[in-house]
């Protein structure tokens, strides 16, 4: 309620700003004119003359010229007299009183989230369930250092690490949870997800084998299916990806929470899912990791490319770039990056050798 009160006050202040000048009558508005400028110029000439900066003859010539401008500026047809126009003023007042709040609400309501309170860090850490997360993580890590075979501990810690963005540690934790907590489809899928996250969203061969394993254990494992679809998409096999995802949607319950995510993925590969996007798409925006991640990979690859353009000595970097383009299914770009790389290191036999060696391991021969 306070929020709406504040909004009302702000709107009132805005309306007031428009109405204020309309209400002020009679008082002559202060304004400058060309004449003022030219009069000042004349005064300045006198001052320069007195200071000895210009000679008397020049001062006279200048005065004549400025005088001519002054006459033209004082010509009344250049500035017709001011007059008040009540009808227009009333119209402007109505626009301010009605139009301004109407525009403000029409723009704000579809975009704003007036029901969401602020979530500053300080408030979040006071909340009982959230923080002090770092402390908890540290505690669990310490516990696991002493009892490294506690499978349950690893399976508690791993998803938290993943969510915190500590992907490499998450991979290790999921591995341990598999080793000590026993094999399950879910754990294999989680490990695969962590591996993909650590590779900046690329479903690597290693991650793929985890997903395959998960599906072998449980053919309905949702996460594994989704990521295998993603792998197919990243390899450029869009039709395969669409097939996998369609199959997922067919089998799923109508209210499955991941539905919008898969539908969005299908849209991306150009094969829209049968039902249109639901309202949940928006609600599930936070789960749309795959999309975000893809944008992130592209960003990183672009950054890498830029860096290499400016400094081409980094053989490792070139190899990474070529690999990234291959994974993204962009063979043309990979090829052009390859020729750029050759050019950049052409003067350095050692680096050229390293480059060719690396390319061989990528499966492209020099």
């Amino acid at each position: 309620m306070t929020l709406w009160f504040v909004f009302a006050l702000m709107t009132a202040a805005a309306i007031f700003a428009v109405l204020l000048p309309l209400g002020l009558r009679g008082s002559k508005p202060s304004q400058g004119s060309e004449a003022t400028v030219y009069k000042d110029q004349l005064v300045e000439i006198d001052r320069d003359l007195a200071a000895g900066l210009i000679a008397a003859g020049e001062a006279d010539a200048a005065r004549t010229e400025i005088g001519r401008r002054l006459l033209a500026a004082a010509d009344p047809k250049n500035s017709p007299p001011l007059q008040s126009n009540q009808a227009l003023r009333r119209l402007a007042a109505v626009v301010a009183l009605v139009g301004l709040p109407a525009v403000a609400l029409a723009v704000y309501l579809p975009m704003g989230s007036p029901r969401l309170p602020d979530f500053p860090l300080a408030a979040r850490s006071r909340a009982p369930d959230a923080q002090p997360l770092d402390g908890l993580v540290a505690q669990v890590e310490q516990h696991l250092e002493q009892n490294p075979t506690d499978g349950r501990g690893w399976s508690v810690l791993a998803p938290v690490l993943l969510r915190l963005g500590r992907y490499d540690e998450a991979v290790r934790a999921f591995r341990n949870s598999l080793t000590y907590g026993g094999e399950s489809a879910e754990r294999h899928a989680d490990l695969g997800e962590a591996l993909a996250a650590a590779a900046n969203g690329v479903v690597t061969a290693e991650a793929k084998s985890e997903f395959d394993r998960a599906l072998a254990l449980n053919a309905d494992e949702v996460k594994a299916s989704y990521f295998l679809g993603l792998a197919a998409e990243q390899d450029g096999r869009k039709a395969d990806a669409a097939k996998i995802w369609h199959a997922m949607l067919d089998k799923a319950a109508p209210d499955a929470p991941w539905r919008p995510l898969v539908q969005a993925a299908l849209l991306r590969v150009g094969s829209p899912a049968a039902p249109a996007l639901s309202d949940q798409t928006v609600a599930a925006a936070q789960d749309m990791k795959a999309d975000d991640r893809e944008a992130m990979i592209r960003g990183m690859v672009d950054r890498l490319a830029t860096r290499l353009k400016q400094n081409g000595d980094d053989v490792e970097g070139w190899l990474r770039l070529v690999r990234a383009y291959l994974v993204m299914g962009d063979r043309d770009k990979a090829k052009s990056a390859l020729s750029d790389a050759r050019q950049a290191v052409a003067n350095d036999a050692e680096r050229l050798r390293q480059l060719n060696e690396g390319l061989k391991t990528l499966g492209i021969d020099g």
């Binding site: 909004f7 702000m10 202040a13 000048p21 400028v37 007059q83 301004l100």
Partner: protein
């Protein structure tokens, strides 16, 4: 409440801008003073609401409110406070909010201090200003809204791009935007003049302080950006002819031309049409710069926003404003009366020459920047136009311009005497020749043209000094009188001298840095020593250190000269876990205006580290020059006759300037 309050304030600013863009025009049409004054109060209110909105976003970043998408994507709770604040404009959304805040700031300043303007001109200018503001508010709200929410906030943010976690981010973008956006005022003045159909010497008098203000900030912003790139990107370059750098250079060139042509218009009522066109072009180039950076058509350090809808929206704004203003110009320009006549050899003539060179240089940069883009769109070929192109085209344009710079202030208005001016410049010419001779004798290696360029730079500086000496009668009259005259000299005369000398100073820096720069690039192990330009540098060791949100590898170098220990330098390499990126922090050691520069590369398996060491003679002059130029601009701005907004104060012009 802070989030939604800030969001709503931004929406209110849009609503106010819409009113400000229409009502005052109606008022001007029907000559109603109250309606015209609406422009003023709405401009101030708009500034207030945008200010609230910007302050809200800063607060959200400081308190790490990750329920806001923009904060989540660009902040981290462990980030030092200063980067939490500067991170606000380190993201696309935040920087656009800064952009409109500065636009509103200029509108508010004009509303508050524009008492000396005729009512209808002020109404027109503020209305045009509001058109621009409305377009950008809509752009922000529809495509780059910084106040979008996440219903279930994540626990930690994604952190700011590490390259931007530097003090440079606190200074460079705000300065640059103050410059870019400041030119919107001269644009609005130009459109207002075209709409009113009246333009005269007084118009130039009113527009010049605003242009000067924008130019000062743009100069400082570009210099700051260049210095930042120099120490942060780690390979010792300071200008790369990167399209984004060009995008800031183009408005600077056009703005410099505008400053000079407005001078002619103010004093001699000439070059009116040209000045109006330059005002339009300068701001159009600023908009083009915004488009190039924000649309994602370029890949560079600056391209942190790549979203096609944004690009299309900005392209639309660009077309409407540039196309619209040029159409208006084409329709109305012929009605403007031509002003004073002048001989080719005169102060006016010199300023026209200056304008010709500056605009041609600007066009060259424009071609070099846009050609690769156009070619890619048309044929799909990717080419890059780099330093060689610009060195071949830009430099030949700047050399005659700089040779002409000292002559300009020496010539009289209307009819000048070139021979007399040349005679007065004899001393500067002799200084230049001796500088060339000295440079030739002293230099070992390097380009043959370098000493000549140094001579040119000395000539420009000497010309600036001569100008002041001539005006005060130094060496001709007793020293006490000269001193008194120097005090009585208009500050704009001092400003001119400083700004012109600044170009010369920067040129010396550029020539020395590019010609006599020495470098060492190689692998070093602890206890290794290398010699660079007479200094010997010993690598003491490399240690690991934990920063607030990164880990860094710090190398310590012992610098000594002739066996005497001089100082310790500690370059480092930081890796940021959240983004998985690393940055290099170069170590700089200044000796006079020269610098030693060390940056670290990758470590090799056998304990060695790739190190780049440069000795850059007089490199600091490259940035000291622009600072001097900006200082000259400020002197000129503080000239009592140019001061903005004090009604009835003495603020006339010098009228006809005698050659003394």
């Amino acid at each position: 409440m802070i989030v939604e309050g800030g969001h709503y304030a931004l929406v209110l600013a849009l609503a106010l801008a819409l009113i400000q863009s229409t009502v005052p025009l109606l008022g001007a049409r029907w000559r109603d003073p109250a309606l015209m004054n609406v422009a003023r109060s709405t401009a101030l209110a708009q500034l207030l609401f945008v200010g609230v909105s910007f302050a809200a976003l800063v607060t959200l970043h400081v308190t790490s409110d990750f329920s806001v998408l923009n904060v989540y994507e660009n902040s981290h709770s462990m980030k030092p406070l200063i980067y939490k604040i500067t991170g606000v404009w380190g993201s696309h959304e935040g920087s656009m909010l800064l952009w409109v805040s500065i636009l509103a700031l200029f509108g508010g300043l004009l509303a508050a201090f524009g008492n000396n303007l005729p009512l209808s001109l002020r109404a027109h200018v503020l209305a045009v200003q509001a058109w621009i503001a409305s377009a950008f508010y809509l752009f922000i709200l529809t495509t780059s809204n910084p106040f979008l929410r996440i219903p279930n906030p994540p626990m930690e943010g994604r952190d700011l791009n590490p390259v931007l976690q530097d003090i440079g981010l606190a200074v460079h973008p705000p300065m640059l935007y103050l410059g870019y956006v400041g030119f919107s005022i001269s644009f609005s003045f130009a459109i207002a003049a075209l709409l009113e159909g009246r333009i005269d010497a007084a118009w130039a008098r009113w527009v010049r302080p605003w242009t000067l203000l924008a130019w000062i900030f743009l100069t400082l912003g570009i210099a700051m950006g260049s210095y930042w790139a120099y120490y942060e990107l780690g390979w010792g370059g300071w200008w790369f002819w990167d399209p984004v750098e060009n995008a800031s250079l183009m408005p600077w060139l056009a703005g410099t031309a505008l400053l000079h042509s407005a001078l002619v218009m103010e004093k001699r009522n000439a070059l009116k049409v040209w000045t109006i066109l330059l005002s339009i072009l300068t701001f159009s180039l600023s908009l083009l710069g915004t488009f190039l950076v924000r649309s994602g058509v370029l890949t560079s350090v600056h391209a942190f926003a790549t979203d096609p809808t944004r690009g299309v929206f900005i392209l639309l704004i660009l077309c409407v404003f540039i196309g619209g203003s040029l159409t208006l110009f084409a329709g109305r320009a012929s009605r403007l009366k031509q002003g004073g006549l002048f001989a080719p050899i005169s102060r006016e003539g010199a300023l026209v020459l200056n304008n010709l060179f500056l605009t041609t240089a600007c066009a060259t940069v424009l071609v070099g920047t846009l050609y690769p883009l156009v070619l890619e769109v048309l044929t799909g070929d990717k080419i890059s136009v780099g330093a060689p192109f610009f060195n071949l085209t830009f430099a030949p344009l700047f050399v005659p311009l700089m040779a002409a710079v000292p002559f300009g202030p020496m010539l009289a208005w209307k009819r000048g005497d070139l021979l007399a001016a040349t005679q007065r410049l004899t001393a500067a010419g002799i200084a230049a020749l001796s500088a060339i001779a000295l440079a030739w004798a002293w230099a070992r290696g390097g380009a043959a043209l370098a000493p000549l360029a140094i001579g040119l730079a000395v000539f420009v500086i000497g010309g600036a000094i001569t100008d002041i000496a001539e005006r005060t009668g130094l060496f001709r009259v007793p020293f006490a009188i000269a001193l008194r005259r120097a005090r009585g000299l208009p500050r704009s005369a001092w400003g001119t001298a400083f700004a012109h000398a600044g170009i010369g100073v920067a040129l010396i820096g550029i020539v020395c840095e590019t010609t006599w720069n020495s470098e060492f690039i190689g692998t070093m192990k602890p206890r290794d020593t290398v010699d660079v330009a007479g200094y010997s540098l010993t690598l003491n060791g490399v240690v690991q250190r934990q920063g607030p949100n990164y880990r860094e590898q710090v190398a310590s170098f012992m610098v000594s000269i002739d066996g005497e220990p001089l100082s310790t330098m500690t370059p480092s390499k930081r890796s940021f876990t959240t983004r998985g990126m690393s940055t290099t922090e170069a170590a700089l050691l200044s000796r006079g205006f020269s610098q030693l520069y060390i940056s670290l590369g990758d470590s090799s398996a056998d304990g060695g580290t790739v190190v780049r060491i440069y000795h850059k003679p007089l490199v600091l002059l490259i940035w000291f020059g622009p600072v001097l130029m900006a200082f000259g601009g400020m002197l000129s701005l503080s000239d009592r006759r140019l001061r903005v907004g004090v009604p009835k104060a003495a603020k006339a012009l010098r009228g006809l300037q005698a050659a003394e």
